[in-house]
C-alpha cells in the first residue's frame, strides 16, 4: 500500500508539474526570418513606405491638386526640390507638388498590389483547396477552367477591358483580380493534394472529424506558409502590372495617379532638365519592389518545409 501511495503521489506530482512551453513552427519561422538581415531590412522599408502613404499628406506643404502659379511655366528653373517653397520633391509639369503626388501615387499603387494579392489569397485558396480536397471530376473541371483562363494573354485582355469599358480604378481592380488568383489556386491545390494523403488527415478522418473541420483545422493552417510567401511575392507583380498599364496611359486617370503614371510623366519631360520628376517616383517604385521581394524571399526561407 505504501508503494501505491508513493506511486499516486508521484503521479499527481507529474500531472501538476509546470507545463513546458512548446516552440511552434510559426515561432521557428519567425526566429529564422528575424535572423535574415535582408528580409528584416525589407520589412522595415515597407513599414516606412506604408507610413509615408498613410501620413505623407500631413507633412506635405501643398495638396496634390493645387497649382503653384509661381513656378508655372518655369518648372525647370524654379520647380526643383527645395525646402523653401515647400516642394520637397519639386513640382510636376503643371506646377503641382510632386511630394503630394507621390504620396497619392504610393497609396494607389500599394492598394492595387494589396487588393490584387488579397483577391488571389481569398479566391485562389478557397478554389484550390476545394479542388484539391474534393478531387475527382470536380477537381478536373475546376483545374481545366484555370488552364483555359491562363492560356489567355492577360495583358491583352486587360488592355481590351480598359479600352472597351473606359479607364477606371474599378475596371483595373476587376482586370487584375481576374488574373491574380489563377497561379495561387494551382499552388494551393498542389499543396492540398499532398496534404490530403498525409497520415494526420487520415487519422482525423478515421476518428470521425467532419470534413469542414478537417479543412479548417488541418489543411488550412498547413497551407498558410505557402500562401503567405506567394502573396508577398504577388504584391510587387501586381504593382508592376498596374504600373505598366499606367505607363502605357491606360491605367489610372487624372487627377488620380500611381507610380506608373508618375514615372510615365517624368519620363516624358526628361529632356527639359526636370530629372526629379522621374527620379522620385522611380526611387519609391524600385525600393518597394525590392523590399517586397526580399521579404518574400525571407518568408520562403523561414517557412520552407525542406529546412526542417
Amino acid at each position: 500500500m505504501v508503494v501505491d501511495t508513493i506511486k499516486m503521489k508521484s503521479l499527481s506530482d507529474r500531472l501538476a508539474a509546470e507545463e513546458v512551453a512548446g516552440r511552434s513552427l510559426w515561432a521557428d519561422a519567425r526566429h529564422r526570418f528575424l535572423r535574415n538581415k535582408a528580409a528584416v531590412a525589407g520589412l522595415f522599408i515597407l513599414i516606412l513606405i506604408g507610413l509615408f502613404a498613410l501620413f505623407g499628406n500631413y507633412i506635405a506643404a501643398w495638396s496634390n491638386e493645387e497649382l503653384d502659379f509661381t513656378v508655372m511655366g518655369q518648372v525647370a528653373e524654379l520647380g526643383g526640390p527645395s525646402f523653401e517653397n515647400g516642394h520637397y520633391f519639386g513640382t510636376d509639369d503643371l506646377g503641382r507638388d510632386l511630394f503630394a503626388r507621390t504620396v497619392q501615387g504610393t497609396r494607389i499603387s500599394l492598394m492595387v498590389g494589396i487588393v490584387g494579392s488579397l483577391i488571389a489569397v481569398i479566391v485562389g485558396t478557397l478554389y484550390g483547396a476545394t479542388a484539391g480536397y474534393v478531387g475527382g471530376r470536380t477537381d478536373n473541371i475546376m483545374m481545366r477552367t484555370v488552364d483555359i483562363l491562363m492560356s489567355i494573354p492577360y495583358m491583352f485582355v486587360l488592355i481590351l477591358l480598359l479600352v472597351m469599358f473606359g479607364r477606371s480604378i474599378a475596371m483595373l481592380f476587376i482586370g487584375i483580380g481576374l488574373i491574380s488568383w489563377l497561379d495561387m489556386s494551382r499552388i494551393v491545390r498542389g499543396q492540398t493534394l499532398s496534404l490530403k494523403h498525409k497520415e494526420f488527415i487520415e487519422a482525423a478522418q478515421a476518428t470521425g472529424v467532419p470534413s469542414f473541420t478537417i479543412i479548417r483545422r488541418h489543411i488550412v493552417p498547413n497551407l498558410l506558409g505557402v500562401v503567405a510567401v506567394y502573396a508577398t511575392l504577388l504584391v510587387p507583380l501586381m504593382i508592376l502590372t498596374e504600373s505598366f498599364i499606367s505607363f502605357l496611359g491606360l491605367g489610372v486617370q487624372e487627377p488620380l495617379t500611381s507610380w506608373g503614371a508618375l514615372i510615365s510623366e517624368g519620363a516624358g519631360t526628361i529632356n527639359y532638365g526636370t530629372l526629379w520628376q522621374l527620379a522620385f517616383p522611380l526611387f519609391f517604385f524600385i525600393i518597394t519592389l525590392f523590399a517586397f521581394f526580399f521579404v518574400g524571399d525571407g518568408l520562403r526561407d523561414a517557412l520552407d518545409p525542406k529546412d526542417r
Binding site: G22, S24, W26, G208
Partner: protein
C-alpha cells in the same frame, strides 16, 4: 463461447483504376486489394496480420473502419454490419475502433500541440466536456503512455520517433476504444525503440482489455504480441493459426518462407535452419496468377495449383494450400506427411 467483438466475412476491396488518358467510357481496370478475407476477433484478443508490403493488409484495416469502400460483412458485437453503415451511422462506432499509424511524425499535425492532437478524438466524440476536463484526461493519458504530462504544449517536431508514436497511441486510446488497429506501428522506428513501443502496447492491451489488430510485414514483431496470426498474400488469406502453432508448425509454403527470413538469435540454430528464398517479385495485383496466387513463387507448385484456388481449411489452424505440410529440406513435404 463468447460473442466475437468483430466477425469479418468475405471482405473484399476492389479499386477501379483509370489510366491517364482513358476515355470516360472505357472500363476501368480492377485491382482486388483484398479478396474474401474471413476472421473473428474476440474481446481482449490480438490478431496479427502479416504479409509483404502491397499484400493488402493496410487496406484490410482501412476497410473495417470504412476508410476505403468494401463489400462483405464486418459484424460488430454480433449486431451491426459496419460495412453497411452510412457515414453518419458509422460515426458512433468510430470512437470504439481507433487506429495507430505507421509513420509517427506524419500522423501528427505539425501545427498543433501535443495536447490538441491527443484531445482531438475526445473533442469530436464528447463535445460537451469542459476544457479543464479534457486537459486532465489528456495529461493522464500522456502519463499512461510514458510521456511527461508537462510537455502538453509542445509540438510534434520536438519529440523523437518513439515519443511521437506514444502520442499516436495516446490519441487512439483517449476515447477508450474497444478495438485498436495498429498499422505497422513500429516499422518506422529504430529496433531498440520498437521493443519499447510493443511492450507498451501489450501492457496497455492487458490493462484495458483491448482487442487489437496488429499489422506488420515482419513475423518476428507480430510473434510476441499476437494471440493468433493471419498471413496474407495478394489480398488472400494463406494461413491462420494461433501464434504458437504458426511459428512452431507452419503449414503453408509462404509462411515457411517468411519464417525462414526471420533471423534466430542462436547462431547454431541460425545456421541449421533451412533458408527458403522467395524468388521473384510479388506478382501485380492487377493480374494475379490463376489458381493459387502464390504459385509463381512456390517451391511446391504443381499443375493443380494453377487450375483451382485452394480454399482456407476450416478449424483453428487454417491453411489455403493444396499441398500443406511441415517444412522439409528441398521445400517439398514428404508424401502426405
Amino acid at each position: 463461447m463468447t460473442e466475437p467483438l468483430l466477425r469479418v466475412e468475405d471482405l473484399r476491396v476492389t479499386f477501379e483504376l483509370r489510366r491517364a488518358g482513358d476515355m470516360p467510357w472505357t472500363k476501368p481496370r480492377l485491382l482486388h486489394a483484398v479478396s474474401g478475407v474471413n476472421f473473428e476477433l474476440f474481446p481482449g484478443e490480438t490478431l496479427g496480420v502479416v504479409g509483404e508490403s502491397g499484400c493488402g493488409k493496410s487496406t484490410l484495416a482501412r476497410a473495417i473502419i470504412q476508410m476505403v469502400p468494401a463489400t462483405g460483412k464486418a459484424i460488430w458485437q454480433g449486431k451491426t454490419n459496419l460495412l453497411a453503415l452510412s457515414k453518419r451511422e458509422m460515426l458512433k462506432f468510430r470512437s470504439d475502433i481507433q487506429m495507430v499509424f505507421q509513420d509517427p511524425l506524419a500522423s501528427l499535425n505539425p501545427r498543433m500541440t501535443v495536447g490538441q492532437i491527443i484531445a482531438e478524438p475526445l473533442r469530436t466524440h464528447k463535445p460537451d466536456l469542459s476544457g479543464e476536463e479534457v486537459k486532465t484526461r489528456v495529461k493522464k493519458m500522456m502519463d499512461r503512455v510514458g510521456l511527461l504530462p508537462n510537455q502538453i504544449n509542445r509540438y510534434p517536431h520536438e519529440f523523437s520517433g518513439g515519443q511521437c508514436q506514444r502520442i499516436g497511441i495516446a490519441r487512439a486510446l483517449i476515447v477508450e476504444p474497444k478495438l485498436l488497429i495498429c498499422d505497422e506501428p513500429v516499422s518506422a522506428l529504430d529496433v531498440s525503440i520498437q521493443a519499447q513501443v510493443i511492450n507498451l502496447l501489450a501492457e496497455l492491451q492487458r490493462d484495458l482489455g483491448l482487442a487489437m489488430i496488429f499489422i506488420a510485414h515482419d513475423l518476428s514483431v507480430v510473434k510476441h504480441i499476437s494471440d493468433r496470426v493471419m498471413v496474407l498474400y495478394l489480398g488472400r488469406e494463406m494461413e491462420m493459426a494461433t501464434s504458437h502453432d504458426l511459428y512452431a508448425d507452419p503449414q503453408h509454403p509462404y509462411t515457411q518462407a517468411l519464417l525462414s527470413a526471420v533471423p534466430i538469435p542462436d547462431p547454431v540454430a541460425e545456421r541449421a535452419k533451412t533458408m527458403i528464398p522467395l524468388d521473384g517479385d510479388l506478382p501485380s495485383p492487377l493480374a494475379p496468377p490463376s489458381g493459387c496466387v502464390f504459385r509463381t513463387r512456390c517451391p511446391r507448385a504443381e499443375q493443380r495449383c494453377a487450375e483451382t484456388a485452394p480454399a482456407l481449411t476450416p478449424g483453428v489452424h487454417g491453411v489455403a494450400c493444396h499441398f500443406p505440410g511441415p517444412l522439409v529440406r528441398g521445400g517439398r513435404p514428404l508424401e502426405n506427411a
